[in-house]
């Protein structure tokens, strides 16, 4: 059995990717299983989905914590989510990024591969620059890097199950297949940066939620970050008034400060600032 874990953001087609892979494996005569992590699938929020593939019926029904393959649809998640957790020597990390696979951080012995699926998706008109639909290009790369499914089966699965633009998606899968880059197995991988493990929450007695949601940091949802140029700020506090996440506070002098742990990058503050002194900057 091979176990594959997908990491993406709400709106990118992460769950569909895990399902398409399963469909393709089924067309190859395998017995697959796929399901998402049941969480908040809001646009921009980190999303996890799982696929298992075997020659025999799969009895296990749990989330995948020791994956053979980890697929990352959005490179921004490398900074905010411990994607390589549970990945051990002999496993594979595949990331959608324009960077070379050698630059990817991974635990020792993990094979690394990269594909510029965003460029491929946009070249085929799939999604927008802010929200490219990269899933089929990534699956093409996965097919080549792992051999878990054939490109033919993947193309048929796309034709049968992708509701919008099946032919563009098929071409994106092919380009992903051709465009995947494997890291030189001899090159040592940079170690993944340690992630701050959030303190365990106090579980209250009984069905009463009593912990403030501010223990949850939603910064990972963001693809653009507001930057305030205070020199032109008139202290009108419009940005503060309109933030749906209460992520802006006013200092003693009345200047706004963005609480970046919570800002989701919606862009409202920038759009509403009368002197246009808030800039939305793409996350690196």
């Amino acid at each position: 059995m091979i176990e594959i874990r997908f990491h993406g953001r709400g709106g990118q087609g992460t769950v569909v990717a895990s399902e398409l892979l399963a469909q393709a494996a089924f067309l190859d005569g395998k017995i697959p299983q796929s399901f998402p992590f049941f969480g908040v699938e809001r646009r921009g929020a980190p999303v996890t989905a799982f696929t298992r593939i075997d020659d025999r019926p799969i009895r296990v029904r749990t989330s995948i914590t020791r994956p053979d393959v980890v697929v990352v649809l959005d490179p921004g998640l490398l900074r905010t989510t411990p994607v390589t957790e549970g990945l051990t020597s002999g496993g594979l990390l595949l990331v959608n990024t324009p960077r070379r696979a050698e630059e990817l951080a991974a635990p020792p012995g993990v094979r690394r591969a990269s594909v510029d699926a965003t460029r491929i998706a946009l070249a085929h008109g799939l999604g927008t620059a802010m929200l490219p639909i990269v899933n089929t290009a990534v699956l093409g790369a996965l097919a080549r890097a792992t051999g878990v499914v054939t490109l033919e089966a993947l193309a048929r699965a796309v034709e049968q199950f992708v509701p919008a633009r099946p032919s563009e998606n098929r071409l994106a899968a092919r380009d992903g297949y051709l465009g995947v880059r494997n890291a030189d197995p001899g090159a040592a991988a940079p170690a993944p940066a340690p992630f701050a493990v959030p303190a365990p929450l106090d579980r209250p007695e009984g069905p009463v939620a009593s912990v403030s949601s501010e223990v949850i940091h939603t910064a990972a949802w963001r693809t653009f970050t507001p930057v305030i140029h205070l020199d032109r700020c008139t202290k009108c506090n419009f940005c503060w008034k309109f933030c749906p996440d209460a992520a802006i506070e006013l200092d003693a002098d009345g200047y706004p400060r963005i609480r970046l742990e919570y800002c989701k990058g919606c862009g409202i503050c920038a759009a509403e600032c009368p002197p246009k002194t808030i800039e939305m900057v793409a996350e690196a």
């Binding site: 809001r42 501010e214 209460a246």
Partner: protein
């Protein structure tokens, strides 16, 4: 510091699970600023149950009862009775439900609460579809809008039926206070919350609540779109106290509805003829409101 025009207190916490740019999230934030901490909220199944409470966390700094989608009206009557029996002073009981949970599934419970004259505020935040379950049409979805259950194509042009007029249904119950609120106008919003709090009896808020993924527009545009909705006459702002209607925002000429419609993917398929029909309906409704306001003012009501 520039003077704050709305209360400083934050009773909606950050870290909640609403989409970026969520209109209902801003609606809740502004509402709680005006209501203050001595509030008991009753929230049925809707986006806001998910936004507020990945267990054991809560994004709401007030007491919350999580109830069934049919039951918001009944639950606020029960909460008020319990608060009275416990001699709790100065608590505001507030139901907070989506348009699906209000205009469709919970309509009888709302009617019952208004008819019982429960001393409570019922809020319908109107994102014009069942959003939490993935954009299904509700009675409050506007005519012509795309939803997953009113698709576009094969001769179908979005929702065939007109939007249910929930305010008219509520007003038929002669509530103590009823108003339309829009988070794009925080000062008007806050004044209405304060006004409602000064009145006893059944009160109702209809809050305009844009949903970027459901209406298909960029999350940065939530506030601008809300302004356009009111200034084009799609969502007029008014309040009704003791049966007298007063429009709380007038800007001279209405903006063309075409601008409002063009800003959203859910209306992208509409042609010139459909837009013209919507324009004339909005115009007629606005004229009707102006007439009613004049009549109420001259006491002929």
């Amino acid at each position: 510091m520039a003077k704050l025009t709305i209360p400083a207190q934050e009773l909606m916490y950050s870290g909640h699970a609403a989409c970026p740019g969520c209109g209902p999230a801003l609606a809740m934030r502004l509402l709680l600023k005006g209501l203050g901490p001595r509030t008991i909220l009753s929230i049925p199944a809707c986006c806001w149950t998910v936004i507020a409470t990945p267990y054991p966390t809560t994004a709401l700094g007030v007491a919350v009862l999580d109830n069934a989608i049919e039951a918001t009206g009944a639950s606020v009557s029960g909460l008020r009775a319990a608060a009275d029996a416990m001699h709790l002073k100065d608590v505001e009981v507030v139901g907070f439900a989506g348009d699906g949970g209000t205009a469709d599934i919970g309509l009888q419970a709302l009617s019952g609460m208004l008819e019982r004259r429960t001393d409570a505020i019922y809020v319908m935040y109107d994102n014009e579809a069942y959003m939490n379950t993935g954009v299904q049409r509700s009675g409050a979805t506007p005519q012509g809008a795309w939803t997953t259950t009113t698709p576009v194509g094969g001769g179908v042009r979005g929702k065939p039926e007109p939007k249910k007029d929930v305010m008219a249904i509520v007003l038929a119950h002669r509530p103590a206070y009823a108003a339309t609120l829009n988070p794009s106008f925080p000062e008007d919003f806050d004044r209405k919350v304060a006004r409602a709090r000064s009145i006893e009896g059944p009160r109702f808020f209809h809050i305009f609540a844009p949903c970027p993924p459901g209406w298909k527009f960029d999350s940065a545009e939530t506030i601008a779109l809300g302004r356009l909705a009111t200034d084009s006459g799609i969502f007029p702002l008014y309040e009704v106290v003791d049966g007298r209607l007063r429009i709380t925002r007038k800007t001279g000429e209405l903006k063309p509805v075409a601008e409002y419609l063009a800003a959203q993917g859910r209306f992208r398929h509409l042609g010139a003829e459909e837009t013209a029909r919507i324009q004339s309906e909005v115009r007629a409704e606005w004229d009707r409101l102006l007439r009613r306001e004049r009549d109420d003012l001259s006491g002929s009501h």
